[in-house]
Symmetry: C3
Subunit: 470 residues, 3 copies
C-alpha cells in the first residue's frame, strides 16, 4: 500500500515552539521570493531550444550523480541505472532503471537528495504518494506523460519556478551558441553564462590540447605565447561579458596561487605548451593563472569564484568503464592561508574586486575562510558547497562563519546544480535553514526580530545580487 | 550524606517535549533488543573458564584506561590505583585504590565513563546511592561480594545482558585455545574471534620477531619468503573462520595502502624479515599488507576493519615505568583519500567485499569518509570510535555522515571494549543517541515516523548483522 | 527613529523552556561573582596613572582590531576609521570615524563584537537606544562626556566592574615601570604582569636585536652566550614573579618543541645571535625555548601558556601602509601531538607543572588537545581563544573537549583583551554559555542539578584560581 507524500509546511524548522514560530514568520517573508541562481550547471541548450525532456529516467536519474552514487555505493550496477558506459549506450531500458531506483529509494533517508526529490515529486508533478517499488510505474508514467506536455518545457518551468536570474557555466573554448540563441530568440528569461577557463588552464586534463586549439581559433591569438595566451583570455572574457556573464569560475585541485615574474611565467608557459611540463609545473601554472584571472577581474569587474579541493574520478575502475563525473569525486583537505597569499599580495587590498571562496573542507570555515573574509575587502564566502549543500551542512556553515565573518561577507545561496527541476527545492531548503538559524539567534536574544527579517531578505536576495553584480 | 543514584528513563533524549516524545517511542521499540557486539576486546578466557572475577578494583578500575587516564591527568599516581609497573606488582591494595577512585569520581562529570559506570553500578549491582568518598567501601564490598556469587560469573552475565553475539580479537599468532575451549564446553553463548594480524605485520612492534616465529610454527609455512608468508595468512584466516570469525581487524598508525608489484613486495619483505628495514619500509609494508588482506577478503569473504590514526604510548616516562596501554594513546590527523586509493584501485569495485573504516579524526567524517562510503560499493563507515564513542561524538558522527553516506552505509554500533560489564551500558547510550537523532529528523519533518522506526531497528540490529555477515 | 537597546536577561540561554529555566538558575548562582582575569592585554599604564580616556573613538574603535577588521573587510578605509598609518597621524577626526562605525554597525549582527559592544553601551554608559547612523553623535557625545568624569577613570571602572584579579602581559625586555608604579601607588587593585618572552626568542621579529640588547641591560648577563641567555631569563622571571606574575605566555607560529643536547643548543644559539640563522633555525630555536621555559617552570612554579597557530600580518599591502596588529592575523592548521612530544618527554610526568594549551584550530580540540589534557598531569586546556571566544565557539569547545578531558582539565575563562571596557561583557557571555551547556547536560540527565551548580562555580572561579595559582 502506498504511503502518503506530504511536504510539511514546518519542515526543517526547529522543534522548539518558540523558535519554530520565529522561523515560520521569517519564512513567510522570503519563502516565495523569486529565485536568483548565480552559479549552476544547467544546460543552456534547454532554454535555447525549449525542447521537451524525454522521460523520468533521463531527466531525473541518469544525469544526477548525487542520486546514482548512493545506489552504486549499495551495490547497484550503473548498467542497471541506464548510465551509459564510455561511448556506449545504456544497458537497461529507462523504465527498468526507474524501478531499480524506486525500489531502493529508502537509501536516501536523511539525505538532501531525498528532500529535493520529494519536493520535485510533490510540487512539480503533484504526487501525493511516496516513491517506492509499488509506485515506481505510477511515477514513471506520470512524469513521462507530464514531460510530453508544453507546461513542462524548459521555459515554461523557468517561469513557473519564478527564476529571476540563472547562470550557467561554459568553458573558455565554448562558442556560446546556446546563449546567443537564447538572446536571438527574444525570450525574456535571464539565462547567462559564466567564464570557466579550467579546460585551457589545466594541462593535466586529457582534453587540454583540443581546448587550447579551439581557444586559439575563437580568439585569433597566438595562444602558444604567454602574452597571446593572456590576450586570448581577455578576448573571451569580453565575449562572455557580452553574453551577460558577470562572473568567472575556477575549479582547481588546490587553492594554491602564485605570483611569478613575467620571465618566470614565460618559461613556465613554454614548458606547458611545449609538453615538457611535470606535475609541479601543472600545479604552478594553475596557481599563477588564478592570480592572472584576479588581475583581469580588477580590470574588467568580473566576480571571481574559486572552488578547490576535489579529487576527481577517484575510482579507477569506474573511470575506465564509465568515464568522468560518475559520482567518484572525493573532497581533499585544503589549505587557504598560505595558498592564497601570493594572489592576495597582488590584489588583496582592491576594494572593487570580489573573489568568492568555496570549500569542501569544513575544517577551514572557522579557522581560515571566515578570518580571511572577515579581513580582506576582496574576499567573500561562498555558501556551503556540494556535499555540504544540505541542512546540517548549511547550519554548520552559518555556525562556523558568522561570528567571525558576519552575514555580510557571505553571498547568499548557490544551487550549483545540473538538475533543473530541483532548483526550487534547493533554494527552499536553503531559505528554511537560514530562517531556522536566524530564528535561533532571535530566540536567544542575539539579534532582534526586525534584524532577522532584514537578514533573511539579504541572504535570499540582496547579498546575492550585490556580490554577483546583477 | 550519600546522594541518590537514579538512572532517568529519559536520559540522553533532547529536552524539547515533542522531540523527547518521539525519542521515547523509538527507544521503546529497540531499547530492549538483544545485543550484537561484532567488535570488541573482551578476554575469551572468561567465557572459556567461567571463573569468578576477584574484586571491584581488578574488574572495573585497573584494566580500564578510560578511567585511570583521567585520574592520572589530575595528578593521581598509577601506583595508587593498583596499576602494575612493568613486571611488578601493584603498589597499593585494591581497596585503597578503589577509595582513591571514589574520592575523585567527580572528575568524570560530563564524560561517557561516568555514564557507563553509573549504569553498571545501578543496573548490574543495584546501587541506589552515588559513588563518592563516603560510599567507597559500600561499593567495594557490595561489588566484591557480588562477584563471589555464581550470578556474576561471566557466562551468567552474558545471558543476563542478553548478548546475542560477541566478537573478541586475537592476533594472527594466537592459538585460539580459549575459543576452542568455549566450543568444546558445549556452552551456547556465541563468542567468536576476529583475525588481527598487526603483530606479524608491524615490524616496529617490539614483539614482531616472536610473533612471526609462532606464526611460522602454527602454519608450517616458510614465513620468511613472501609467498610463504602470504600462505601463512591464508591458513590462519581459515583457522579463524573455522573458529567462527567473520571479520579481520587492522590497527595501523595511518590509513596508507600500497599496490606494489610482486617483485617489489618480495624485495620489501626481504628487508623486513632480514632486519635491514627503515621506518619508510615499515610503513610501506603495513600499507601493502592492507591491500593483501583486502585481496584475501575478496577470496574468503571476511569483513575487513581498518582503524588507523593513533600515536601509541605517547608518554615516554610512563611507557618506561608502566609499559603499553596506559591511557597514553593520542589520535593523529589522518588522511584517507590518497591513502586508500592504491588498495581501492585493486578492490574498489568489488561488490561482495566489505571494508569498514574507522577514524579518530572527526574532520574526515564529512570531508573524506562519507563521500568515500557514499560511492564505493566495498566501503562502509564504522561507528564513532574510542574517544568519540560518547553522546556528543555519536551525534556528530550522524550529523556529519548521514547527509552524504546515508544510514545504510553505516554498520550500527561497536562497543570496542575490554570492560565486559559496560557492554549493556555502551549499547544503551548508542541506542539512545540514535533515537535522539532520528527523533530530531522526525520532529523537523525530514523523515516520517514509520521510517524512523525502521531505521532504529536497522541501526540496532539489521545493519550490524548484514555488515558483519552474522 | 532610534530602535531600543535592551539587554534581555535570558540572552544566550537555549529557547527550550526547561533548559532555559535550568540555565537561569545556574546563572543566578554565578552571574554576579567577581571577575578573575588571568590572561589579557590591557595597558598597565592606565592603572598606574589613572588618567582619563579621551573620546569614544580612541577608546572603543581605533584600538580594537576585532571591530575595524570587519569594517575594513566591507571596504571601509582604515584612514576613515582614525587608524594611524605607520608613523603618521589619523587621517580623519575621531567623530567622523565614529559616524562611519555607527553607520555600518549592522555589519556586526551575529558576531560577539556586537554583543560585547551592546553590553558596554547599555551597562557602562546607560544607553537605551541602539547605535546606528541616527544615534552616532548621541553616542559619541555621551561616551566622550562620560570619559571626562572621574567615575570613568580606569581605577573607578576596575572597582565598578568588580575585578578581583587582572593580569596584563609584558615582554621579557619590559622594565615593568607601570607595574612598579601601581604597587608604589598604594592602590588596592590586583593588577599583575605575565612573562611573555617572545620578543627575545623570535629572531624573525624585526625588533629582536633591540629587545635582546635591553634584555642584556636589564639583567647584566652575557645574553650572547647560551648559559648567559638562560640566566637572563631566570632573572627576569624572578623580576616578574616579584611583580606578582604567576604565569608565562608564549605566542609561537606553531606548537613545535625540541629537546636538543646542550652542545646542540649552544651551536644553534650561536647562529641565532651571530646572524647566520635561517628560517629552520628560527623555528628550531623557538621550539627549544618552549622546552627551556617548561624546565624553568618546573623550577619556579610559573604556569606556562602556549598560544600557537597565527599567521601574523597576512595582508602585505596593509602591513606596508599601517604596520602590525591591523586585524590581518589569520589562523593556521596546527599540530600538537608530534609537536609537543619533545617537551613532554622532558617534563610530561611532572605533577607540579601546569602548561595551558590554546588553539585557533578547532579541529584539534577533540582529536589532540582533549586526549593530551585527559592524560598528561601537566597539561590543561585553555578556553576557546580569539576568533573562537564567541557563543558558538565556546559551545563547540565544551562539546568537543568535555567528554574526553572532563571539566577539571580546563581552566575557566580568559578574556584575552586589550578592550578594558569589554571585560565584564566578555565574562558575562562566557558565564551564560557555560550555564547553557551545563543546563543541557542537566536537562538530558547527564549530570545532576547540584553537580551543575558546583561546576558553574568551578568554571567561573575555582578552576581559574587553581590553574593560575592565584
Amino acid at each position: 500500500m502506498a504511503t502518503p507524500l506530504d511536504l510539511n509546511p514546518d519542515r526543517l524548522f526547529p522543534a522548539d515552539p518558540t523558535t519554530r514560530g520565529i522561523a515560520r514568520t521569517l519564512y513567510k517573508e522570503i519563502g516565495a521570493l523569486p529565485i536568483v541562481s548565480p552559479h549552476g550547471h544547467t544546460d543552456p541548450t534547454w532554454f535555447a531550444t525549449d525542447a521537451k525532456w524525454e522521460n523520468a529516467t533521463t531527466l531525473l536519474l541518469a544525469p544526477d550523480h548525487y542520486v546514482f552514487r548512493m545506489l552504486y555505493s549499495q551495490g547497484v550496477a550503473l548498467d542497471d541505472l541506464a548510465i551509459p558506459r564510455r561511448g556506449g549506450v545504456p544497458a537497461t531500458d529507462p523504465r527498468a532503471a526507474w524501478r531499480v531506483f524506486a525500489g531502493n529509494y529508502h537509501l536516501f533517508r536523511g539525505t538532501p537528495s531525498r528532500m529535493w526529490l520529494d519536493h520535485v515529486f510533490a510540487e512539480v508533478f503533484g504526487f501525493d504518494v511516496r516513491l517506492d517499488a509499488g509506485t515506481a510505474d505510477l511515477y514513471y508514467d506520470t512524469i513521462t506523460d507530464a514531460l510530453a506536455s508544453d507546461a513542462y518545457r524548459p521555459r515554461a518551468l523557468f517561469d513557473r519556478f519564478r527564476i529571476d536570474f540563472l547562470a550557467t557555466t561554459e568553458g573558455a573554448h565554448d562558442r556560446l551558441d546556446a546563449h546567443h540563441a537564447i538572446r536571438a530568440s527574444g525570450w525574456g528569461g535571464r539565462v547567462v553564462t559564466t567564464y570557466r577557463p579550467d579546460g585551457v588552464i589545466d594541462v593535466e586534463h586529457e582534453q587540454f590540447a583540443g581546448a587550447l586549439a579551439t581557444f586559439a581559433e575563437l580568439t585569433g591569438e597566438d595562444v602558444h605565447s604567454w602574452s597571446g595566451y593572456l590576450a586570448a583570455h581577455r578576448k573571451r572574457r569580453a565575449d562572455f561579458r557580452a553574453a551577460g556573464a558577470t562572473a568567472t569560475d575556477h575549479g582547481h585541485p588546490t587553492a594554491r596561487t602564485a605570483n611569478l615574474s613575467t620571465a618566470e611565467c614565460e618559461a613556465l608557459f613554454a614548458r606547458i605548451v611545449g609538453g615538457t611540463w611535470d606535475a609541479d609545473d601543472a600545479e604552478l601554472f594553475r596557481a599563477q593563472m588564478l592570480t592572472e584571472m584576479a588581475k583581469m577581474s580588477v580590470e574588467d569587474g568580473m566576480v571571481m569564484q574559486i572552488h578547490p579541493g576535489s579529487f576527481r574520478n577517484h575510482n579507477a575502475g569506474l573511470f575506465a568503464s564509465h568515464g568522468r563525473d560518475k559520482g567518484a569525486d572525493i573532497p581533499l583537505r585544503t589549505e587557504y592561508v598560505q595558498a592564497l597569499k601570493p594572489m592576495l599580495d597582488v590584489v588583496g587590498t582592491e576594494r572593487d574586486l570580489t573573489i568568492i571562496l568555496f570549500t569542501l573542507d569544513e575544517s577551514v570555515y572557522a579557522r581560515e575562510l571566515a578570518p580571511l573574509a572577515g579581513h580582506y575587502p576582496c574576499l567573500k564566502l561562498g555558501p556551503a558547497w556540494w556535499f555540504h549543500d544540505s541542512p546540517e551542512g548549511m547550519r554548520r556553515f552559518r555556525e562556523l562563519t558568522t561570528e567571525t565573518a558576519g552575514f555580510y561577507n557571505t553571498v547568499g545561496f548557490n544551487d550549483d546544480t545540473r538538475a533543473f527541476l530541483s532548483i526550487p527545492a534547493r533554494h527552499d531548503v536553503a531559505r528554511r535553514v537560514d530562517c531556522a538559524f536566524l530564528a535561533r539567534l532571535v530566540a536567544e536574544h542575539r539579534i532582534e526580530d526586525w534584524e532577522a527579517v532584514e537578514l533573511a531578505h539579504e541572504l535570499t536576495s540582496g547579498l546575492v545580487r550585490r556580490a554577483y553584480r546583477l
